[in-house]
Symmetry: C2
Subunit: 263 residues, 2 copies
Amino acid sequence: MKSTTNKQMKIVIIGAGNVGYHLGRKLYNVGEEVVEVFSRQRKKTVRLAKCLGAQATASLRDIRTDADLYILAVSDDAISAVAKILADRGCAENLIVHTSGVTPLTVFKNTGLRRYGIFYPLQSFSISTEPDFSTIPFCIDARQEDDRKLLMELAAKMSSHIYCFNDEQRALIHLAAVYANNFTNHLFHIAHQLLEKENIPFEILWPLINETVRKIKNAPPSEMQTGPAARGDVATINQHLQLLENKPEYRKIYQLLTEAICR
Amino acid sequence: MKSTTNKQMKIVIIGAGNVGYHLGRKLYNVGEEVVEVFSRQRKKTVRLAKCLGAQATASLRDIRTDADLYILAVSDDAISAVAKILADRGCAENLIVHTSGVTPLTVFKNTGLRRYGIFYPLQSFSISTEPDFSTIPFCIDARQEDDRKLLMELAAKMSSHIYCFNDEQRALIHLAAVYANNFTNHLFHIAHQLLEKENIPFEILWPLINETVRKIKNAPPSEMQTGPAARGDVATINQHLQLLENKPEYRKIYQLLTEAICR
């Protein structure tokens, strides 16, 4: 191993989108040395590199080969190609990780790399808001045991929620996250649209939404289920379906979720 | 009008479930005089009456007829019957309100009552947790203008979010609340179940869920949509559907919501 996390690590960030941006800045803030940033978007590369006092590099073929860790914060389908380029470039013995929840460790298998792993922060990042890293669960994996330990130590500098998961577990977490975040957000969108039609401010639902989220921290969601479906209140369900007469998509979702809750 | 809210009101609470319990205690705490509690469940009646220094009454036919306000915190389908009994009992000139989001003002129409209204706190109450009334939106309506004013003044003693809505608007809010609370909670339940299968703690999703809710306060949910459906990431969607092979109900919900987001 070239370094332990007791020493400062030399890190290269590949990808300067939401994950690369926030992860890079956090690593910098906890004292790691981000030496280089590459992304396909020149403007984003320069912005992030500037934040980190790092070099902004315009081509993957020019990436330095002496870093301790290469973090790929690129789209899922680019991981394998980027890894291959790094291996060809001379990084076969350096530690390379991706940050994807859905991509298995085996993505690195035929790239020529020897040391690889996963460094997946389970959060939905936006460029505009500063994430609170201390609460973010890091899901770690690595081909080699000592690399896994290294990645756990690095994550522990940012968060107190570090987990080791295999590909199967991580895929399930990612799937669960789609229900808990993506689909939930779409339901909020429907609620927003329904109210907007009548010029009722969406804010009126915020306390209810806050309470929904607060409650599932005290008991399993199944025990917290309320509403007409949970009560078997057919009259209210019919009234709601009536209100949705001109909204066939919202109606379908209403029916399916109501059936699921009744079951 | 027998009283204005500058004076203390004499209030009767009918129903000692989650809404009656918390609303009664809050009214007591802001200095209103809850004189009597009735519910069909003796134990709950006595518990609430004790909290409020009120009389616990076992039959609707024995309810006192000199109160300023009767708050019906009963199930939706009991409202009309209870209102009729109160009218027959001699409360035709007293102000009677219900606390339901879904029941129209017209439920009181043929009861014999003259003064009636709606006093709907838009929140999901549980007996075990103290609600923060200051944040709860109160949706008010009344047949007579002066009663509406009275109810708004009373609500303003508990919350700073007071709204006047007609039946149509309130029905829409209630419908939107079903999406934002009941359906959302069911999605949390699915996420919980998926993780439980692999002994992964549900807590791992809490930071993500918190962030989902925080984001919709800064921009409309449609602008905050992320995930494989929003990205059109067919490979990930197929992988997820594969993982759900033995969960036809979860799969149906996944497909429908994914289609809705893609649309």
